[in-house]
Amino acid sequence: MVDAVLPGQGQVAAKAVRRSSLRKTMQRKSTIAFFMTLPLILLVALLVVYPALYAVHLATLNKGMTKFIGFGNFQFLFRRETFWMVVQQSCIFALTAVFFKAIIGFVVAHFVHNIPAKGQRKWRGMLLVPWVIPPAMSTLCWLWLFDPSYSAFNWVLGLFDVGPIHWTGDAYWARFSVILVNIWIGSPFFMIMYLAALKSVPEQLYEAAAIDGANWWQRIWYVTLPMMRNIIAITALFSLIVTFANFDIVQILTAGGPIDKTHVFATWAFRVGIQSIDIPQGAAVSLFMVPILAIAAIFILRDISKRGSEV
């Protein structure tokens, strides 16, 4: 038995404890995960957080970017008729497009799910084509189909003595056109997500439902949809964010025209900020998307976590 502790022995012990606790911390899964994701966190901070904060800073400057004006740019926007039209159009554009993408994705996912496994891969690949082509390129093809003077659609309609339709010249047709192209590009994403969800629904549930005498609609309503709810919500949220922030489709097809009737936040921010050299105003327009999307995200994610805790 040791009656006395040698001087310095305590310090050595403390050091050893510290070293072992550091080792333990380093060996903890969460620490390792943190360090492994650190490069990505830094990248996100550099490419997302910094520009976002810089945009906030820009939005608080005057037109000449010489002095701080607080919320002046936002107050100015709230008094503009065009701005409220853009808000309305962005909501119509995003909500309509996401709704139809979800419906089409859901239906097509069911069709593909019911194709025998042997030929399914081929169909999956083909149906993903609109999503994997760079949107700027496919939108250019759509532009040629909608061309004001040489529309291929109008040529076909002309064979049946219908039209011509001013696809991008008439405000309502122009809105229809940009939404249609967005749906065409975005539906495969919904399809593939829903297909993955469908494949994870246990077959026994359908068998049990069939034994209980459930028809096709009841199986969808009481088995498929509840099992897919989280995927549907996440996909809708993700798509809503991307669609709200859409730029390329509208810019290429209509550039916001005619008479601003197809502008969305991103295209109008570009028109005001870059083309009209009013960067602070452009930043304010683009930042206006944040509260709208944040509210949507809070509701959807809260719903998902609530259901997660119920499970």
Partner: protein
């Protein structure tokens, strides 16, 4: 050996003389003074036209022993505007940049004044038109040098045959090659009658009412012809004026004879309209004719570029100059100024005009007599009147004479074309004017 004793007075005199020489000399090359310079030129859409600027710059660089880097940046998709905005934010980038029409005013505070260069160039080549001065000067200083490359007049380019057969107008007789125009009868009324006749004949005038530059310039020309302005030179709102109402009534009548999809037209639409043989006139520089020469020679043979119709306020033609500007953050300003002088010589301008098949226009009054415009064909003399050689048109830019920072917003937001479309689609005129007034009011903020 004689010893030279340097007195204080002599030393001061020598130093002063040396300093004066250094300041006054345009750009003196010494062994290490040359350095590097980078240039962001506009990427010309006439194939092969970039070669002219490349040659001039390389010759200058070889003579001055300067290392140069040239980037040709297209305006398609506003790539040049995005690059300018990025360089302005970063305060880094090219030393010289080709700024489109309104850009020097937008970045006035970030540009190096070029008063010394412009004073010499005006002395050598004559005055520049009022539009160049309006766009290129701010606070009493020249912001940039008007570039030959990219500068253009958007006058009528008519089909000789269709105008003769459908509207009874001989555009060649009105604007004879090599002679002054005989265009007294070429008025807004004559223009409207011709538009109606060509519309009835199934070959309407191809004038866009969209939000891009060609549409805005065309509508702006009619506004100017009536003396209609949305904001005056003092920055006061003048939307609700009789002249604006007159211009709107006229444009509503004209719009009825334009293609029904004109509100969706972009800058390519009118070119396609002419090249496809669908219309009898467009308002455009000779780029459409140049494309027709390659793709539809029969159409090109019938094209004639000429002056605009006169209105109650005069005969106006849209003029869109490009500018070569030096960024304030440039590290080699003396070399940049020297290069701007080299790019603005008569020989260089002539080379650029020839390389662009007559599309590019120098802004100086003594540089409108190059043989390219007289000789280009088919038909011979088709471009003779393009550079406004007899000054019978007032060169203007849409939304002027409002203070440039306001006019720029009116122009890029295409307020005038939107007014026409709204009114044309049945909105009451006073409601359209109220909308335009609210838009312009927003542009007055600083």
């Amino acid at each position: 050996m004689r010893k030279h004793k340097l007195s204080r007075r002599k030393f001061m005199a020598t130093t002063a003389a040396a300093s004066a020489t250094m300041i006054a000399a345009p750009f003196v090359r010494t062994a290490n003074a040359a350095g590097k310079i980078s240039i962001g030129f506009w990427d010309h859409w006439v194939p092969g036209a970039n070669i002219a600027t490349k040659t001039v710059v390389e010759e200058w660089a070889a003579k001055e022993k300067v290392e140069v880097q040239i980037d040709y940046i297209p305006s398609a998709g506003s790539k040049n505007l995005i690059t300018i905005a990025a360089e302005a934010q970063a305060k880094a980038g090219h030393d010289i940049f080709a700024h489109p029409t309104w850009s020097p005013q937008g970045y006035a505070e970030l540009l190096e004044p070029v008063d010394d260069v412009m004073t010499d160039l005006i002395k050598e080549h004559g005055k520049v038109n009022a539009t160049v001065e309006y766009l290129g000067r701010a606070n009493g200083h020249w912001l940039a040098v008007p570039a030959t490359v990219g500068s253009q007049i958007k006058g009528p380019c008519s089909r000789i045959d269709l105008m003769k057969s459908l509207a009874g107008i001989d555009v060649q007789a009105m604007y004879p090659a090599g002679s002054p125009p005989k265009a007294d009868a070429w008025t807004l009324d004559a223009f409207l009658k011709a538009a109606e006749a060509c519309h009835k004949g199934g070959k309407p005038f191809g004038i866009g009412l969209g939000g891009t530059s060609d549409s805005v310039d065309s509508v702006g020309m009619f506004f100017h012809a009536f003396g209609a302005m949305l904001v005056n030179e003092k920055g006061e709102l003048t939307v609700k004026s009789d002249k604006v109402r007159q211009a709107m009534e006229y444009l509503k009548k004209l719009a009825a004879f334009l293609p029904p999809d004109a509100p969706a037209w972009d800058d390519a639409s009118n070119n396609k309209w002419l090249v496809a043989g669908n219309g009898s006139m467009i308002l455009n520089p000779p780029s459409a004719w140049a494309v027709a020469k390659r793709d539809a020679p029969k159409v090109a043979e019938q094209c004639w570029t000429h002056g605009s119709p006169a209105g109650p306020n005069g005969r106006y033609a849209p003029f869109l100059p490009y500018f070569w500007a030096i960024w304030g953050f440039s590290k080699n300003k003396p070399a940049a100024k020297s290069l701007l002088r080299a790019l603005s010589t008569r020989a260089a301008a002539e080379k650029m005009v020839a390389a662009s098949a007559g599309y590019d226009l120098p802004s100086f009054e003594k540089l409108t007599d190059f043989k390219t415009w007289a000789e280009e064909s088919p038909p011979k003399g088709t471009l003779f009147h393009y550079p406004n050689p007899f000054n019978h048109q007032i060169l203007s830019v849409s939304a002027a004479p409002a203070p440039p920072k306001i006019a720029f917003q009116i122009y890029t937001q295409a307020v005038q074309t939107k007014m026409v479309v709204r009114f044309m689609q049945g909105e009451p005129l006073e409601k359209t004017l109220a909308w335009a007034e609210q838009e312009c009011e927003g542009f007055l903020r600083t």
